[in-house]
Symmetry: C2
């Protein structure tokens, strides 16, 4: 049995928009084919999702089938709403966090919650995080890799990360509105596959180069999809750090050492890549992640870990031990 | 002994600018500390380089020390000059290609040449490539990962790649003016380490998603620095291709299969990453590359390959066999 730290939720019903900005792309849901709903944004289908996004019974059945004893629930990334007016983001966070909190209450044994905060206002985000952690139903928050194009390593986000470290909140970072639209040849459907890995790599690199992860060494932060392309970028950054004084002056610690105290999920889609993650980040850094219940979720996460032929001790850390530490459980 | 397919040159003397656009950043060289010169652009030091950039004797001495029997010479990427008026790029290509051609003439046993063409005008680039291949001193060309922000997989570049395939020209792709300035926290010195790997990944992905590599299966194309972050992106693209009809409709071949008929140099800075490249791309895809003679060049390329404990057969392919095939030697 294992803890799956990368699963998403969508509220069953989103209330109508009550704010004052007519250009806000406030989402709504409407029925799709059996067992599914459309998430609508700006009057168009943004994504068609399984009702497992909010249905606890369906989740529990599928968790049992997958060998997942405990799921960490986080918002569908597009719901993070950093691009709304701040008060509208706060309104959305109430709806999303209530949904997550309710699911956690339905089974505290089987679910933990990561909520959302209005990260475009870092001071407010820090206060909202404090309230969320006092609520009792949340282990921390999900955030995007960037906030309206600003990578999360930018010093303006320091108040939020300082609060997360102080409160012992778990932070889960998911790719969002990725870098490189001008480098993509083909339809937007390619973005999660071509652009997200680089987007996540830029986010992690920004947290390292800004010194944020050195100033907040106790921060518990995990990255989706194995940290994207970062495992391939790290040896090069490490090489630059060893060779160029301008880089080692900037980053007081070895990037490889910093990288090994972060967390990454196992959602990398093949065995050599999973082995490469382990050799890059170490056995204490990997967490099970599935992207459940989205269309492309990993249906056999434990099989994927079995296939890598890690030692029993490492498998146990990945399945559970690391997640207990990451979530302070 | 091995063939090093990733080395750069700079002309010893760059002629004065004779074009008509006062904003052209035509480069020049001036003396720096002993054995070095500054490459000046817009009146500022762009980079300080070793005189080995043009000095054949110095190169031969260092090649012997490194165990390199043959170097492939290509322009310092910033000399590619796609951002000049086309005729100015052509003028620069004359200077650069003459330098490379002259070095090849000095020792055809020890050097092969990759020239440059004005890729911002793909039809002219195709004609220039034809002339270059008829010259007798060149195996092909170096190109950037993008041309003024347009990734090389864009269909507009098809005439160039069609000519390269038809002429049997070797194409070496190097990262240049990378994606993601808005995602970088810190000084531009970070770009080669943080941004180049993603830039190269976007370039390879664009060549796959545009169908260009499927329409030109005989194209001999190599990517610097192990293809950057592409080895970490490929399993995800492969997963999307298997799961999403919208992607498999777009890309008729398996991305993994396409990836295995491309070439990548070994310049990835650590042993696990080199092993990961081999498992991602196969034993017929890797070529020795060093970035010689730039400041951060790999001084012991053969040792780096030894450390990976590949079989003798694989080591021989990487050291020489694959390069002979890539260069049609």
């Amino acid at each position: 049995m294992a803890i799956d730290i990368h699963t998403h939720i969508v509220p069953a019903d989103l209330p109508p928009y009550l704010g004052s900005n007519p250009k806000t792309g406030w989402p709504s849901t409407c029925p799709a084919h059996c067992g599914h709903s459309h998430l609508m944004i700006h009057g168009k289908i943004f994504r068609t999702v399984s009702n497992a996004c909010w249905n606890v019974e369906q989740r529990l059945t599928e968790m049992d089938r997958m060998g997942i004893e405990h799921q960490v629930l986080s918002p569908m990334p597009e719901l993070l709403s950093y691009w709304f007016d701040t008060l509208d983001t706060v309104a959305m966070s109430r709806v999303v966090n209530d949904t997550i909190g309710g699911m956690v209450e339905a089974s505290r044994m089987r679910f933990s919650g990561l909520g959302m905060v209005p990260l475009q206002d870092p001071d407010l985000a820090a206060r909202e995080l404090e309230a969320l952690m006092a609520d009792g139903r949340f282990r921390g928050v999900e955030i995007g890799t960037n906030v309206n194009g600003i990578p999360i390593g930018d010093p303006r986000f320091e108040p939020f990360f300082a609060a997360a470290e102080r409160l012992g909140a778990s932070v889960f970072v998911h790719a969002l509105h990725p870098v490189g639209d001008e480098r993509l040849i083909g339809p937007p459907i390619l973005k999660p596959f071509v652009s997200f890995p680089c987007e996540t790599s830029f986010a992690i690199s920004s947290l390292i180069s800004s010194g944020l992860l050195t100033r907040h060494p106790e921060l518990k932060i995990a990255f989706s999809h194995g940290g994207g392309a970062f495992a391939s970028v790290l040896p090069r950054l490490q090489f630059g750090w060893r060779k160029m004084a301008a880089i080692s002056d900037l980053i007081p610690e070895s990037p490889s050492e910093i990288a090994r105290r972060l967390y990454y999920d196992t959602l990398v889609y093949d065995t050599p890549t999973l082995r490469f993650l382990l050799s890059s980040f170490g056995e204490r850094s990997l967490l099970v992640g599935t992207d459940y219940p989205f269309e492309i979720y990993e249906q056999d996460p434990l099989g994927a870990i079995e296939n890598a032929s890690f030692s029993e001790n490492v498998v146990e850390l990945i399945r559970k031990g690391n997640a207990l530490r990451y979530l302070s459980l």
